[in-house]
């Protein structure tokens, strides 16, 4: 009789497994849009929303208002933020995806190419958002998401060690050396580099990563080569040699050193602030190393609507009329500490000088490219920067090889 017990376990396991892979076990099955789900009795606007842990409570708050006013129901599903992108791509075609998901604007190129997101017409609401937020969610002329937060890096200054904001990079280094701390300025890097953090310094040499169209969107033409790029590469080598930049400094090391008062400056974003409690801080624009303004990347967080949702009307209604309110955006701000995307909410949040500081830096920033080509850039970019700083790469040759390699990867894709 003993053999029956493992068998039950097997059957249970098999049953559960088969249920679990119900979505993808039938890849060849022709999709029959609309017929199946609409045949089921449609309840009044029942929505499923994927959220991450930070945002869950804030979304549920807005959902409660929606539920009370419309009689629909909202189910929030807690997902690990890093898993959402791949899971959304995989699950939407099976019909198992959520109606709405949180996401970042730089996924947009991939999501549209996969046909898994629906455009949202913000109508007159569009003008109530920060311009860069709507621009970031615009792809080929259509808006694909409802933005809720804007995040960018700035220069975080320990006011006890440096009373004044530096105007240029050299000023910052001089002020840091004058403060007598271990590090004049902290810039996280690591052995594989951190081009996101280095980007404002690169743009100050006039070398953006891609050409930008007039409407703010990016064209798939590399712009980080040329004179500006090479000047930046030379500068990296010089800073590496002087010991100001160091590839041994990772995110953790940089944050820990700044929290311990070992440097007056660190280049970083609002996500670091939790580690800096007890310090008197000010947020300044990132000091330019070249002769042009230092523009960091702006990342915009928002909500996407499933392109194959059967509840589009309820989903868009929820987003445009319940999440695009000052109250909802402020709740998300309280949860995530990123300046809100809705201008009115951002104005309210700016009563906090730190938020106002990041917002001010963000106003001068550029959206992170969301075109699919961007994926091919990161891998070469960071390692080359790290190699130049550590001295293992010759700046001009290293930078030129990087541009050629990226171009090669773009051509091959």
């Amino acid at each position: 009789m003993r053999r029956s017990i493992p068998f039950v376990a097997v059957a249970l396991g098999a049953a559960l497994t088969l249920t679990a892979c119900a979505g993808d076990a039938e890849p060849e099955e022709p999709a029959e849009p609309t017929t199946e789900e609409s045949a089921e009795p449609a309840a009044g606007g029942d929505l499923t929303i994927w959220v991450d842990e930070t945002r869950q409570a804030a979304v549920e708050e807005a959902a409660a208002t929606y539920e009370a006013e419309t009689g629909g129901t909202v189910e929030t599903v807690l997902k690990n933020f890093d898993d959402i992108r791949a899971d959304f791509n995989a699950q939407v075609p099976t019909g198992e995806g959520p109606d709405i998901t949180v996401g970042a604007h730089d996924w947009l190129g991939e999501l549209t190419a996969n046909g898994v997101v629906a455009p949202i017409e913000l109508g007159d609401k569009a003008s109530e958002f920060e311009q860069v937020a709507v621009e970031a969610f615009t792809y080929d002329g259509a808006v694909y998401g409802l933005p809720y937060a804007i995040e960018n890096i700035g220069l975080i200054r320990n006011t006890a060690l440096a009373p004044e904001a530096p105007a240029t990079w050299d000023d910052a280094v001089a002020a840091g050396q004058a403060a007598g701390t271990d590090y004049p300025i902290l810039v996280q890097m690591g052995e594989t580099g951190d081009p996101y953090t280095m980007y404002p310094l690169q743009t100050s040499f006039g070398a953006p990563v891609f050409e930008q169209n007039e409407d703010g969107s990016y064209a798939a033409e590399l712009a980080l080569g040329g004179e500006g790029g090479l000047a930046f590469a030379d500068w990296l080598a010089a800073q590496g040699e002087a010991g100001v930049l160091d590839t041994a400094i990772t995110y953790d090391i940089a944050v820990e050193a700044f929290a311990a008062g070992q440097s007056p400056f660190i280049i970083g974003g609002p996500w670091m602030l939790g580690s800096f409690e007890g310090l008197e801080l000010a947020i300044d624009p990132i000091p330019a190393a070249g002769d042009q303004p230092a523009q960091p990347f702006v990342g915009v967080a928002g909500f996407y609507v499933n392109g194959q949702s059967e509840n589009t009307i309820a989903a868009v209604d929820f987003l445009v009329n319940y999440m695009a309110t000052e109250e909802a955006q402020l709740a998300l701000y309280e949860a995530g500490q990123r300046p809100p995307a809705l201008t009115a909410a951002a104005d309210t949040a700016s009563s906090d000088p730190i938020t106002a500081g990041f917002r001010e830096v963000g106003a001068e920033a550029v959206p992170m490219p969301s075109i699919p080509e961007m994926g091919s850039v990161w891998e070469f970019w960071g390692v080359t920067e790290a190699g130049i700083v550590s001295g293992s790469l010759e700046p001009t040759a290293g930078w030129e090889k990087m541009v050629a390699d990226i171009q090669g990867a773009l051509d091959a894709a």
């Binding site: 068998f7 088969l18 449609a42 590839t247 041994a248 293992s392």
Partner: protein, 544 residues
């Protein structure tokens, strides 16, 4: 074997009332001393099989509701097989094998088969779903708002069976359906910006709209007879906007037409719409592309040299990892197998510790310890020497092997301890009597016997290390990079981490699951071949 002798008649009626078989069986097997056991066993079996069948039927019904016919038939087949095997007297061997076989089918064969199938498709970014989905996505993505047009407060209405929209254009209410362009309606009741009544139409309430969301969002009501004015559509059933379509799909010709410049995009066999001058639309669909992924994998010149280097390093890494961990584990096992060592149990427990910590955590810890400037090894042990443990090509390889040795020796220690204790003492005694020295005994008696016992495990360890993605990814991420290659691959990359990078699963390129699957199958073949050869070699050991 006291297998329950289930009457064949009951095979077809496993849910029959339990009292009846009990009675009948009791009579029939009255002479059998195990009769009572067997009867109870049979009832238990019946109950368990009923449970299994109930679960199975539930899965079948659930699969039916979801239109997942693959799962449905697989489950039906499994159920029939299970019932046959456990109620038939003929399939005795299968009674033992079936559970394992079912697991094998679900967790191994299906996965391998699915990977193989994906390897022959172009599944990946831009080819994520079916053609139908791609067409819909393209049409939706390529609707543009008519320039300078306003947003209209909108209400969904119905005329007969036809859905329509009523919009508030200034003070005028205009209504229409898909067939009838918008026309002014007199005597409509408007409150604020909400249209309450439209003569000639029935105003739909929110519930009615939500009940047919797909139809409402798909509805296009022409603004006028002039197509240039576009058509009204809505997404939230509250606001309407005028749109024109940039792309139109011609179903008969299977083409997409750009209405602004007349470009015709034809559907191609590789799952995209392509114009005559080579431009493609951004959304494609999944198709079977045959061996194309395998050709791509081996035809890109940029990967030729790195591939050879990485293949060599992968084999070296896997082989050296097995050899070093086995030798250290064996050495320690022999030391702590000696009864003269005191506190052996404590030492043994301590030695297993690295094995008890999750591998990815250890790898992360080690990457911190080996940091060039701040790591414990350089900073404290070596007095501030800035040795590039993870940044120098050879040192990085050494570090990887070192960390893997730290992670892997406890396992080898465990199995070697077990195997050593299983070697009969009289064999060693015989060797001593024959005049063999310590080394001779070890070389000619202990080691061969050990290898017979541990050989298959060593091969398994080799196969595992061949695909030890976690360690490489957490410790070095494949770095330092090849200075002379034009692809983001490095000196410590192994084949599996190369696949991760090449196929864009790490985000460094558009994801290409087809290519990733094709390369995985190549790796599968390499590991399979090496393992098969190695197994054949160990069989020779057994003949000693």
């Amino acid at each position: 074997m006291s297998s329950p002798q289930a009457p064949v008649a009951h095979a077809d009626a496993p849910t029959a009332p339990p009292s009846e078989p009990t009675g009948r069986r009791g009579r029939r097997l009255s002479g059998d001393s195990h009769a009572r056991n067997v009867t109870r066993g049979f009832v238990l079996k019946l109950a368990l099989m009923a449970l299994v069948n109930a679960l199975g039927v539930y899965v079948v019904l659930a699969a039916w509701a979801e239109d997942s016919y693959g799962i449905l038939w697989a489950m039906v087949a499994l159920l029939f097989a299970a019932n046959y095997v456990y109620f038939s007297r003929r399939a005795i061997a299968m009674k033992y094998i079936l559970p394992g076989l079912a697991f094998l089918l679900v967790f191994q064969i299906f996965v391998v088969g699915y990977t193989a199938w994906v390897a022959f498709t172009n599944y990946g970014d831009g080819h994520n779903s079916t053609k139908q989905d791609a067409i819909e996505a393209l049409l939706v993505q390529n609707e543009r708002r008519v320039e300078g047009s306003d947003a209209y407060p909108l209400t969904v209405v119905q005329q007969g069976d036809a859905l329509g929209f009523a919009v508030l254009d200034g003070d005028v209410v205009r209504a229409g359906t898909a067939e009838e362009p918008l026309a002014p309606v007199d005597d409509a009741v408007v409150e604020g910006s909400q249209i309450l009544e439209v003569p000639g139409f029935e105003v739909l309430g929110r519930d009615a709209v939500l009940a047919q969301q797909a139809e409402v969002t798909a509805l296009r009501v022409p603004v006028s007879d002039d197509p240039e004015d576009g058509s009204i559509r809505t997404q939230d059933a509250r606001n309407g906007f005028a749109y024109t379509s940039v792309l139109e799909y011609d179903e008969a010709a299977d083409t997409m037409v750009d209405t602004t410049d007349g470009t015709v995009y034809r559907s191609t066999s590789d799952g995209t719409f392509r114009s005559d001058d080579g431009r493609t639309l951004n959304v494609g669909w999944r198709v079977v592309v045959g061996a194309e992924n395998f050709v791509t994998a081996f035809s890109d010149a940029r990967y030729a040299l790195p591939f050879v280097k990485i293949l060599a390093w992968t084999i070296a890494f896997a082989a050296l990892s097995v050899v070093t961990t086995f030798l250290l584990g064996l050495f320690l096992a022999m030391v702590f197998n000696d009864p003269r060592v005191r506190g052996r149990k404590i030492y043994r427990s301590l030695l297993i510790l690295p094995y008890a910590i999750p591998g990815f955590l250890s790898a992360l810890l080690w990457s911190g310890l080996l940091n060039r400037r701040f790591g414990f090894i350089n900073d404290v042990l070596l007095g501030g020497a800035e040795i590039g443990w993870l940044t120098d090509p050879w040192l990085a390889k050494l570090s990887l092997l070192g960390v893997n040795l730290w992670l892997g020796f406890p396992y080898m220690f465990l199995i070697a301890t077990g195997a050593l204790q299983a070697i009969p003492g009289d064999l060693l005694e015989a060797a001593k009597i024959d005049g063999a020295g310590r080394f001779r005994t070890w070389r000619s008696v202990v080691l061969p016997l050990l290898l017979v016992a541990t050989g298959p495990l060593l091969i398994a360890s080799f196969a595992f290390n061949f695909n030890n993605f976690t360690l490489v990814y957490m410790l070095t991420q494949g770095g330092p990079r090849f200075a002379d290659a034009s692809v983001p691959l490095g000196h410590t990359d192994i084949l599996i981490s190369m696949v991760y990078s090449v196929s864009g699963v790490d985000g460094s390129a558009p994801k290409n699951y087809g290519l990733a699957s094709a390369l995985s199958i190549v790796i599968f073949l390499i590991v399979g071949t090496i393992s098969a050869i190695a197994f054949r070699q160990t069989r020779k050991l057994e003949e000693i």
